[in-house]
């Protein structure tokens, strides 16, 4: 394991620990709302933006607006102007877990050299196409494969990945049910 003073994964762990302390004392400031806005373009193509969120008791704004095009691939007779929505879910899960790996590694004084993940979701289209009502629309299962080069024993690296899952918001969203309310104004 690397010397604690030299480990840098670019994560400000002290700020995270300070935030945990502060939010333990002020639980109302820990109440966040995350948002995205989505606009239909044409066919299965839509354009989404992410800019504001609510947290620490007030509206928060980004310096820039992030843009996302979603579409379906040409085999679905679509124009393939962006990743499919289910791929955004995979991106969300992989990037959440990867951020977690870095944060946990920093906290445990493990220097990361490289972290790559591939993520794959199995889906039976008989669900979304309405061919078989017993097949779910969503993924049957998701597999994430990590390759991690770090100054640590293999079991410490395994523990990083396990702890990252335990603390991941997207992992929780994907593995546990969530109430979803959709209204039309």
């Amino acid at each position: 394991m690397a010397n604690g003073t030299t480990v840098s994964n670019g994560v400000n762990v002290q700020a995270l620990l300070d935030a945990r302390d502060a939010l333990t004392k002020a639980p109302e400031a820990a109440q966040f709302k995350w948002r995205a806005a989505c606009e239909w373009k044409n066919g299965t193509h839509s354009h989404s933006t992410v800019e504001s969120f609510f947290g620490l008791g007030e509206e928060q704004h980004r310096k820039t607006t992030f843009n996302f095009d979603a579409d379906h691939p040409e085999v679905f007779a679509s124009e393939d102007k962006g990743a499919t929505p289910v791929e955004f879910v995979l991106v969300g899960l992989a990037s959440c877990l990867t951020a977690g790996v870095a944060a946990v590694a920093q906290n445990r004084n493990i220097q990361l050299k490289s972290v790559t993940a591939t993520i794959e979701g199995d889906m039976d289209l008989a669900g979304i196409l309405g061919i078989d009502s017993e097949v779910r629309n969503g993924f049957k299962g998701i597999t994430v494969k990590y390759k991690i080069d770090a100054d640590a024993k293999p079991e410490d690296i395994e523990a990083l990945v396990a702890q990252s899952q335990k603390r991941s918001a997207v992992y929780d969203i994907v593995t546990n049910p969530t109430n979803v309310t959709v209204v039309v104004n």
């Binding site: 079991e155 523990a159 396990a162 546990n176």
Partner: protein, 418 residues
């Protein structure tokens, strides 16, 4: 109205250890007990329960095991006899069948009201236990009416449970033991597994508790661990006082046919249980934690020249998880007749009228010293040491806190005379 220097709320092992330490310091005190000595053990545990620490390990101030079966695990009646025997041997001033209804500030001290008269005292020791109430999730209200529910606290034996399927929720020490007993009784058990900590009963030929005691793991102090809040919240080790000293882990339960699922995440209005997809990671985390503990013990054995004197290191195989554990289950259609909540316990402080509770309703404290002058807490997970919640941990905590309590009384006396 009676007056005494110290009121101890409760008369379990922690309260009795404190009583013994106060007696050594000639501090007059009384133990107020809602029922009999060791009341929780008498009335709130299942019949087949055995203590998960070996007999030799229940060392209390002035009281140790001298019998011929030091490595055995006490049965429930033996636990009650043991604690009652301790109370008798130290002549603890216990007022039985005396329920504390409130504790509040009263000038320089405290007023303790009971259903059998009131007490005025200068110091209070809260030793009313960590497991007064079974924790049940809010969605328990959605359990279909045809499914019976019990908790690890109200479960006694299989005869109490209808024939048919059982869903046991929680896979720490209580849940795994109840799942084992019910599966063996012929009732097919599904076990919903959240966070848990796997541990071998015997490691390298010695009881795991022997290792943790000898290597000093159990003596680790609350002010030395990285994150005591987390340590206090950690689930109990998945240990059982098995008569044959076998390990009761998830693999052992799978072997006899118990079906494992992820954590119970919810129950829908139409009676469908929803399980988390996190079972694989829960088991991976648990296996990793176990491996870390065993490596630490191996290192200690090496450093202390025990290699050769004890068996060689070995590792249990990883926890087996099926490829696609079920994510949902229609409780009635799947034949579940009973749900047993083994999802943890919490203390009851409804009688404590002091401003010392945190927003989750737990007593705030620094190693058992409560932020109300002269008030102390005993018998909680990692109160002062990793062993604090064990019978064996009460002695050191009682010695420390009785010294603090005595110093508090001395300082108060000096202030009075100054």
């Amino acid at each position: 109205m009676s007056a005494v220097t110290t009121v101890i709320v409760g008369a379990g092992h922690a309260a009795l250890a404190m009583s013994r330490c106060l007696a050594e310091r000639s501090i007059d005190h009384v133990l107020l007990e809602r029922g009999e000595v060791a009341q929780s053990w008498r009335t709130e545990r299942w019949d087949s329960l055995r203590l998960l620490t070996p007999k030799w390990q229940s060392r209390l101030p002035g009281f140790t095991y001298t019998g011929s079966d030091p490595d055995g695990y006490r049965t429930l009646p033996e636990i009650v006899d043991f604690i009652a025997g301790y109370a008798k041997s130290i002549s603890a001033p216990v007022r039985t069948h005396t329920t504390v209804t409130s504790v509040r500030s009263d000038g320089a001290g405290y007023l303790v009201r009971t259903d059998r008269g009131d007490w005025r005292c200068r110091t209070v020791v809260i030793a009313s236990g960590a497991c007064n109430t079974a924790k049940v999730p809010s969605f328990a209200a959605s359990v279909p009416p045809s499914v019976a529910t019990l908790t690890a606290q109200s479960y006694r034996n299989p005869a109490q449970v209808a024939d048919g399927g059982v869903l046991v929720v929680g896979a720490s020490s209580s849940g795994t033991q109840i799942a084992h007993e019910l599966q063996r009784s012929g009732r097919p058990v599904t076990l919903a597994v959240g966070e848990h900590i796997r541990a071998p009963r015997v490691y390298r030929g010695k009881d795991l508790e022997w290792w943790m005691d000898a290597a000093g793991v159990l003596d680790e102090r609350y002010d030395q661990v990285d994150d005591v809040v987390r340590a206090r919240r950690a689930p109990s080790l998945q240990l059982a006082g098995t008569p044959d000293r076998s390990t009761l882990d998830l693999n052992a339960l799978s072997d006899i046919g118990v079906k494992l699922t992820g954590r119970l995440a919810g129950i829908t209005q139409d009676g469908k249980a929803q399980f988390s997809g996190s079972l694989r990671n829960m088991c991976a985390l648990s296996d990793l934690k176990m491996r870390r503990l065993l490596e630490l013990l191996d290192e200690w054995a090496r450093a202390n020249g025990l290699d050769g004197a004890v068996a060689t290191p070995d590792r249990l195989p990883p926890t087996r998880v099926e490829d696609a554990p079920p994510l949902g289950m229609d409780l009635v259609k799947s034949g579940i007749r009973t749900i047993i909540w083994a999802s943890g316990y919490r203390p009851d402080y409804s009688w404590l009228e002091l401003p010392v509770l945190d927003r989750k309703g737990y007593v705030t404290h620094d190693g058992g010293v409560v932020p109300a002058p002269g008030v102390y807490l005993m018998g909680m997970q990692f109160l002062r040491r990793r062993k604090s919640a064990l019978i064996d941990g009460a002695g050191d905590d009682a010695r420390d806190l009785s010294a603090h309590l005595a110093a508090y009384l001395d300082n108060a006396a000096q202030r009075m005379s100054a």
